[in-house]
Symmetry: D2
Subunit: 352 residues, 4 copies
């Protein structure tokens, strides 16, 4: 693609937090041209009415969702919708030749029964679903390049899997020992008004939720099983943190070889992510702060070994709306289009 | 003690967060009379110069530390000082007949070698230290009643041990499987100005610290070993949360009997804490929010069982400065004086 | 009333933030007995289902609103409802002999036309409304004592009027120069889920709203006019602050006598509030932090004079849900019952 | 300057918040090359030791301050130091031919006596100081282009003056009526650890400070006087807000012509800032949220007119570390170098 060429892009579900991140990223992407924003409740509104701070940069109006029209105008479509809606739209878009990136859970599962039992949504698009690729570039880079339909990972699975992958791939950990204690800012709950996400409720407080039954569990397990080469079950506990953005995953695993020290693991992780510019392994016993990743597509990983207990503790920090959602989708988009994986994605956070 | 009688009380180290909690609590305690506030850097200042909002209620001046004078004026002395200072003062105060409650780590360890190796502070008060009682009333109620010297628990150990105790005491969990992922507000770091505790640094961010080497580890292990009847090692990971007060401990343990369900554990926990008014077991699959405990001496405990993994997950929430510090000290004081354990301690938080 | 006697109390609208504050305060009030909690959408639910942290202290169920039944069971009724509902209930309750405290705007206005034009709600209870007393004890203490119906002030008017009253009453300021720049935590917006009050939206941000047209303006002006003895118009600008509780009002006024210095004003304010235990005048050029008032019924006032401009700047801090709402209602209740004005109300905040 | 040419740049005082913003911005600036980072206490440390999240992008070491060496290596020098230090360095750097942008107060004042009386610092560089240009591009664009030494404005003056300038320039407001009620996040206090800026102290609280005597007052007045054509005194009150970044200035002024309506003012403001891409005038009665400007160099301005009082209220929001500090310095740098004023500066915030 020449320097001045741009891919025509549509976003369905532009009014939510995923949508506005995509809009912001794609406005600054040198090879993207936003030509369509679609929504349901917000159809007919100017995008700048929803997000006035972008008024000087985005003059698009949110349009009603018309798949035919979308396919005519867009080479690539991002779907940023509640679970269970993308699977009604993606088949048509795919059939009409669009390349599709779905930010919901609809196309993350190889086994639709798993999806159906955890999400309680019936599906009749098995054929198309079977062609979807799980959009975690650090693990499935080559398949994403060729994909027409990408199911972008959840925020928690992204942080968790990037922390876990080298352990399982290299056989360093006992898979059944995996515990992921994850912490997320409240923006992960979306822009829909819910009482427990009010500042008055959530600020200066902290709680776990979905213990032993959060829907991101089977998604994490699917890729863990891939990596280990056999079925793996993990313990996954999410917590709501009084902050806007960011996820920290604290991963515990019992090492197969209790003689490994931190430097061994740092070497292994650095090698594993040698070609992954968005993953930064912290040396010197540093642990990541989520704020370091704020507004970037980065994942920072810190590692500690406890010789007393024989466990490794891996800490992984991302911006849940960037590497955990829209940023990663753009990273996949870059791969699909043959662009540099880093194109149009911020890699330096503002601090503090 | 008659209704109108009051115990004369001194606080050494009144200017820090522990001190100001004690002052506030004891001002409203029906049988306490604050007669002495001591400090080093703040000696000579009015307490209301340090905490102007208390000006209408506290007109004491912080005095230089003079153990003789303190012992003459105070029946009970609270020491709220950095580690390594109480052990220089408590022996004298004890010898002169004061009853002493220490909020630092100095008198928490039965084995002074453990203390010395984790805290790097030499000790020459082994004899007095041997008489100290660990001030966790829910486990050591009777011994606290008789104690002349109480080593009040750390904030993390309080939240952790209350979550763990029934598991180990009843032999429900495999001790070596214990993982404590703990989260604390920044007030736990004290009032001393430190860059990483600035709002600009700590707000809207999240990080682990002291992984595999935090000093509260041996303190947790000491009581866990008591409960289990043999040496227990735990995995303990603290995290700094962008909020002022509160600790949530998320405890993971593999159950000995994987057939236990949540109701079994709720029954066991409720029975275990039957006589402990400050511990509330949440039914119905509720998990505690730290804000529920804000400004109270309560510990809320929620329990979940994961039948897929055979683990129990226990969630325990306290106010780190109350049940995690000053409130618990006052609870111990009540026991030592023969008062009702709940006297002078708030049991209803403000919400939101 | 004897020491052991208790007033039977009902709260209509118990599920909101005003309601839960009232519940918490009245549970600890030595002469109050909560016998009825009423609600609409929450009728039939246990109060502890709405606020689980109070489960150990409150076992009442929210009942449907039946004025007859309420009047039979309650001597005093607190109405904590959206604007426009109390005026449908209070007349009946008053007629049946209850004493009523309304936390909404319905009974704050002497001139119902003002209410109708700012609130857009028609009224047909002019007769009863004419008997209502504005529940700001520091200014209308005697009338509140005798009142059967009290219209409790809004949160902003409370903070503003306590700052302004001495200026106008003593003729120190030019009334037309009054500017109130007010800042509030988000709990003032209530527990109803609204997008702009989500933590993700409101945290780490700051904005004005309702500039030149906020409904608390005529309420402030009504009392200012009382104090000045003639019609006064004020400039009132509220701002939403990323915190849960607290209001700070920054009041600007041009002094009639530019020769006055800060000490003059401190003396005048201290005298004005001599008998008002809930108002604390800060000396020494201290300005209040809202956190000092957190969870208390206190109002802290700081004063500065600018000799360059001839203006006085008064800073007044309250907890918007306490002195700004439920606490003040309980203060009025104390007056109406002949209790000490401070009974059952916290006067020491937790800090930090 | 050709597309591939880069200006060699040094930053003295790189370790503070101003420094790290400059580093971040200049790393992404197409015509800047960072060749020197200087500091005092941090000399010898890797910049990535101070800010580990930038480790993958910045491999410079902080060097001791040696003016000779700096001048040899740098065409342009940014000074980001506490007040009173730049005035010791700038004369030498200027003499050696560097172009200098100072972020402190040292070169903001035309009248050094004003500086000396408000800052209490003696000066002996009057000659150089007289050549300094006040770095507010929207008002002094042409002079900045030619300047060798720029005194970059304070954060509060930036937000205040952009709100006020059209009023005074067009004679719309009575100058003596100007009141600026300003609110800032705590990052304005710098990275130096101070107790009152701890999260535990500043979070969930709000207070004014420096009432009637903040040092930004004379700086605001200097430019107001320029605009009005005669001496102007303003009332300026800063407040500390529990958030990291952002300033909101709420400006009150009595209009000379009380018949003006909001649309008149919107037209006037839009015309005034016609050529200023960094200032956005909000239509439709929108008021700015500080978060909209987070991480950008933008200033959002909202306007309201109160026909009842004859006042105009102007609301202006910036990121205090960007348009309020480092971003504005880079904007000036662009002007000085003949680059587009927007080069290398973010214009789309992350939201939420």
């Amino acid at each position: 693609m020449g320097d001045s060429e741009r891919v025509s892009i549509g976003i369905v579900g532009a009014s939510g937090y995923g949508g506005v991140q995509l809009v912001r990223l794609l406005k600054h992407h040198p090879h993207a041209e936003l030509v369509y924003l679609g929504g349901d409740s917000s159809a007919g509104k100017g995008f700048a009415d929803l997000y006035p701070h972008l008024g000087h940069a985005v003059d698009l109006t949110v349009e009603a969702i018309d798949l035919e029209a979308i396919a005519n105008r867009c080479q690539v479509v991002f779907l940023s919708l509640p679970n269970g809606l993308a699977c009604k739209m993606a088949p048509t878009l795919v059939e009409k030749g669009c390349r599709v990136l779905d930010l919901s859970a609809d196309y993350r599962f190889r086994n639709l029964e798993t999806y159906q039992s955890w999400y309680g949504i019936e599906r009749d698009d098995a054929e198309v679903a079977a062609t979807a690729v799980y959009g975690l570039p650090e693990l499935y880079r080559d398949r994403i390049r060729e994909a027409q339909l990408v199911g972008c990972p959840g925020c928690y699975p992204t942080a968790s899997l990037l922390a876990i992958a080298p352990l399982l791939k290299q056989g360093l950990a006992q898979p059944e020992s995996l515990i992921i204690d994850a912490k997320s800012g409240t923006s992960g709950g979306g822009r829909q008004a819910k009482t427990h996400l009010l500042l008055a409720e959530a600020d200066n407080s902290l709680a776990a939720y979905g213990v032993a039954r959060h829907r991101h569990t089977p998604e994490i397990e699917q890729t863990c099983s891939d990596l280990a080469g056999h079925e793996v079950m993990v313990q996954f506990t999410p917590h709501l943190i009084p902050m806007v953005r960011g996820i920290l995953a604290t991963v515990y695993a019992t090492m197969r070889d209790p003689g490994l020290v931190r430097d061994d693991l740092l070497t292994i992780y650095s090698a594993f992510y040698r070609n992954s510019e968005w993953v930064k392994i912290l040396s010197n016993g540093l642990y990541p702060q989520t704020k370091w990743a704020w507004g970037t597509n980065l994942c920072y990983i810190g590692i500690e070994v406890d010789p007393r207990t024989g466990r490794v503790i891996v800490l992984s920090a991302i911006d849940n709306l960037m590497k955990g959602q829209a940023g990663q989708a753009v990273q996949c988009f870059n791969l699909m289009m043959g662009f540099a994986e880093t194109l149009g994605l911020p890699n330096l956070s503002f601090y503090p």
